[in-house]
Symmetry: C2
Subunit: 418 residues, 2 copies
C-alpha cells in the first residue's frame, strides 16, 4: 500500500516555513503498514495541483494533501479538488454549525461570509471533523485511490490524522506489516562499520533493507522489512539483528524506536526514579527545551539555569569567582562547579552542565571556537569532559546537546547498576 | 528561472528526519531570483531517482539534489546520476587528497576503501569543494538544465550552497528580480482582514501575488512580485503596500524579512542597548533556546532560569513562598515575582517570565490546562497577563513563546519611546 504526500503552499517553496508535517505523517503511516512513496511540495497553482493529483493517483493508493484550505483567495485547494473530481460544492450544515461554534468560543472577530464559505464542501466528499479549526478534512475516492485533504496547520492536521484519517485507513484490507529495528552505535564512522559488516550485509535476505544513518557522534543502522506475515517479517529481521550484534557488539550502545536522545534519557530517568537539573551556557537552553517538549517532564526535570553571562554563573549557580579567574569560564573546573551548583540549587539527583564557545567569535573566554566542557554531578562524584566540536555554531550546539544526553545516559545506567 | 529540489533518502519518507534543507535552499534561491517550482522527496531507489530527474529536467532550469552520497551501499545517488548522464566514474585526485586530509585531521578510524571511493566522480561533472565533508558537490548540465548534487547533511549542504553553488548560479544570465514584503498584523483573523481589504485585493496588479500567512496570534500578509526591472518591481509592490497601510493601519504591527520573532526581539534589544533575562516554567527553556540559536546573543542575553519545579521558583528566583501559597504557582502574582526575580538575579534591564499549565494533565497547580501567565519586569514596572492557550501541549508552548516575544517587543518599543 503506497502513499503520496502533497503539501500545497507558496510559503513552503520560498522557505518561509519548514514542512514538518510530512515527516510526522510518514512516521504515522509507516506504523500502520502504509509506505510513503513520494513527498511533493507545490505552490498554490491550479495547473500544478491538478498535474500533481494525476501523478499521485497513478503512482499510489493513498494521497494525503495538506494546505491551501484557508478562507482567503490565495487558498485554492478545495476548488481545485472539486475540479479534479468533477464535483460541485454544497453546503454542509454540520460544518457550518461547527464553524459558528468555534467563532463564538475562540474568536474575537465577528464571523464574515468567507468563514461560512468554509462550510461549502465537494458533494462527493466524506467530511472529517477538524476539532481544532474551521476547515474540515475531506475524503474522496477515485479509481481505487483515496484522496484526503487536510489543513496545513500542524496541530489541526495531526488531530485530523489521529482521530479520523488513520482509523479509516487502518480499515483498508490488505495492509502489510512494516517492521524496523534501529541499532545505535557509537565510536566508529559509517564506512568503518560498513567494512566490518560487509559480509553480513551481502548475505542479508533481499526482503530486508539496510540503511546507515550517521548523525553527530553516532551511526544508526536501520533494518526494515515489509510483508503480509507478521511473524515471518519480524523473525527474519530479528535474526539478522542477532548476527549483527555478534559482529559489532563492541560499538552497539542500544536500540532506538525513533525516540530522540532526550526521550531516551527522560525514559531512563523516570524508570530509575532519578531527578535532573541542567546548567547550560553555550547550549543556551536547548537541553531544557528538548527535555520539556514532551509531556511528563515534571516527573524528573527540576529545572535549568541558562547562565549565559559569566556573572550569572556566580550569582545563580554559586560558582566560585576565583575558579573562573584561575581557569577561565570555559574550563573543566567551571563545568564541574556549574553541575554541582545546579544539583544543589535544584535539589536534583543528577545535574549536567555545558560551558564552551559555540562561535562564530570568541566570547567571554579565550577558548577556541568549538571548545566545550560538559560536566556531570551526582551524589557521589562530579567530573567534566573536554570536546572539540568544530567551528560551525549550529553544529557545536547540536553536538554538545547530543553529547550531554549521551554522558547522562551512561551515568544513569551506572547509577542503576550500583 | 525555475528550480526543482530533489531530496533523496528513505529516512525522509519514513519520517526519521524532517527535511529542513529544502526550506533553507528555497529561501536562498529566492534571494537570487530563482523561484522553486517543486520540492520532491523520494527514496534511495534507482528507478524513482531516474524518473524524478527526467521530470525535473523537463520542468525546470535548475535541479538541486541532496542526499544519498554517503560511502555505504544504501547510497546510490552518485551511480544513478552517472547512469542518467550516460557517464562514467573517474578518480579525482583533489577530492582524494581532501578525503585523506579530513580523515587525518578529524576521524579516529583508519581510512577504508569505501571512503576513498568517494573520490570517484562522474567524468562530466564540475567538482565543488565540500569543506565540511568527504562527499564532494557535483555540477552537471544537460539540455540547458543544471543539475547540482550535494550531501544531505545540513551544514555540509549549506556550506556548499553558500560558497560554491549560489555564486555559480548568480552568474547565470537573465535572472529576474524577486521582491517580497511581509506585513505583520495582530488582533484580527485572516477572514476579517480579507473582508476589509477585499476591494484593494481585487485591484492589485496581476503581477503582484498576495498570500495570507496566519500563525499563532498574528497574520502576515506577503506581497510578492517578479520581473527583470528591479525598480519597476519594487515600486509596484511598495505602492500597493502603501495603500494597504491606509486601510488596515490599526492592526499593522510591523514588517518582517522572514525574521523569526526571536530575531526581531534580539535586534530590538541590541539596538536599544538593553539586556534581557528570562524565567521560564511552562515554556521549558524554549525562549532562551530561540534567543541563543543565532550568534550575538551574548550582547543582550544575560541568562534564563527554567524553574520547572515549584521549589526552584523559590530557590532560584526568590519568589516568596507565601505568594505561591496564596495565589497558586500559576498566577499573575507568581509570574510577576518570577520576572522581578530574574531581573535582579541576572542584573538585566528587562525580564520576561512564563508560568502555566501546558498539559496534558494538571501539574503542580490547579490551573486549567492552557492557562498561562506571562510576566514582564522593567526598571519602572512589572505586570503579568493571563492567557488561555487551548489544550494542545505543543501549541500551548509555542503560543506562549510567541506571545512572550510580542509582549517583549511592545515593552522595548515603549522604553525606547520614553
Amino acid at each position: 500500500m503506497k502513499a503520496t504526500i502533497i503539501t500545497i503552499g507558496d510559503e513552503i517553496l520560498i522557505g518561509q516555513i519548514v514542512d514538518s508535517n510530512s515527516a510526522w505523517m510518514g512516521k504515522e503511516l509507516n506504523k500502520i503498514g502504509v509506505s510513503v512513496y513520494e513527498i511533493i511540495s507545490i505552490g498554490d497553482d491550479r495547473d500544478h495541483i491538478l498535474s500533481a493529483f494525476a501523478k499521485a493517483e497513478q503512482q499510489s493508493d493513498i494521497v494525503l494533501v495538506t494546505g491551501g484550505l484557508g478562507p482567503t483567495k490565495d487558498d485554492i485547494t478545495k476548488s481545485t479538488i472539486c475540479e479534479y473530481f468533477e464535483d460541485e460544492l454544497v453546503l454542509n450544515e454540520n460544518v457550518l454549525k461547527h464553524i459558528r461554534e468555534m467563532f463564538a468560543k475562540y474568536v474575537k472577530d465577528a464571523i464574515v461570509p468567507a468563514n461560512e464559505l468554509q462550510a461549502m464542501v465537494p458533494s462527493k466528499a466524506k467530511i472529517l471533523n477538524n476539532a481544532y479549526g474551521t476547515a474540515p478534512g475531506m475524503w474522496l475516492e477515485r479509481n481505487d485511490t483515496v484522496f484526503v485533504s487536510m489543513p496545513g496547520v500542524p496541530f489541526e492536521m495531526k488531530s485530523l490524522m489521529s482521530n479520523e484519517v488513520l482509523p479509516l485507513l487502518r480499515k483498508i484490507e490488505g495492509l502489510p506489516f512494516i517492521y524496523h529495528r534501529t541499532i545505535l552505535t557509537a565510536g566508529q564512522g559509517e564506512s568503518t562499520i560498513a567494512t566490518r559488516i560487509e559480509k553480513w550485509e551481502d548475505e542479508l535476505p533481499s526482503t530486508i533493507k539496510l540503511a546507515y544513518l550517521p548523525s553527530l557522534g553516532s551511526v544508526r543502522l536501520r533494518l526494515s522489512s515489509t510483508g503480509m506475515d507478521r511473524d515471518q517479517v519480524t523473525s527474519a529481521v530479528d535474526q539478522s539483528v542477532l548476527s549483527l550484534y555478534e559482529i559489532i557488539e563492541d560499538i552497539i550502545i542500544g536500540e532506538s524506536n525513533d525516540e530522540s536522545m532526550a526521550q531516551q534519557v527522560s525514559a531512563l530517568l523516570k524508570n530509575a526514579g532519578l531527578t535532573l537539573a541542567v546548567a547550560e551556557s553555550c547550549t543556551g537552553g536547548q537541553i531544557a527545551q528538548q527535555l520539556t517538549e514532551n509531556a511528563g517532564a515534571s516527573q524528573f526535570f527540576m529545572g535549568a539555569s541558562v547562565t549565559y553571562a559569566t556573572r550569572s554563573k556566580i550569582d545563580l549557580l554559586d560558582v566560585d569567582p576565583s575558579i573562573i579567574e584561575e581557569h577561565s569560564v570555559v574550563s573543566e573546573q567551571v563545568a564541574m562547579a556549574m553541575a554541582r551548583g545546579a544539583r544543589v540549587k535544584f535539589h536534583s539527583d543528577i545535574a549536567v552542565s555545558t560551558t564552551g564557545n559555540a562561535g562564530p567569535s570568541k566570547g567571554d573566554s579565550d577558548a577556541d571556537v568549538g571548545t566545550v566542557y560538559i560536566g556531570i554531578a551526582t551524589s557521589s562524584a562530579s567530573f567534566a569532559v573536554r570536546f572539540n566540536m568544530g567551528n560551525h555554531r549550529e553544529r557545536v550546539i547540536q553536538k554538545t546537546v547530543n553529547k550531554s544526553f549521551e554522558l547522562l545516559q551512561k551515568e544513569i545506567l551506572k547509577i542503576q547498576a550500583n
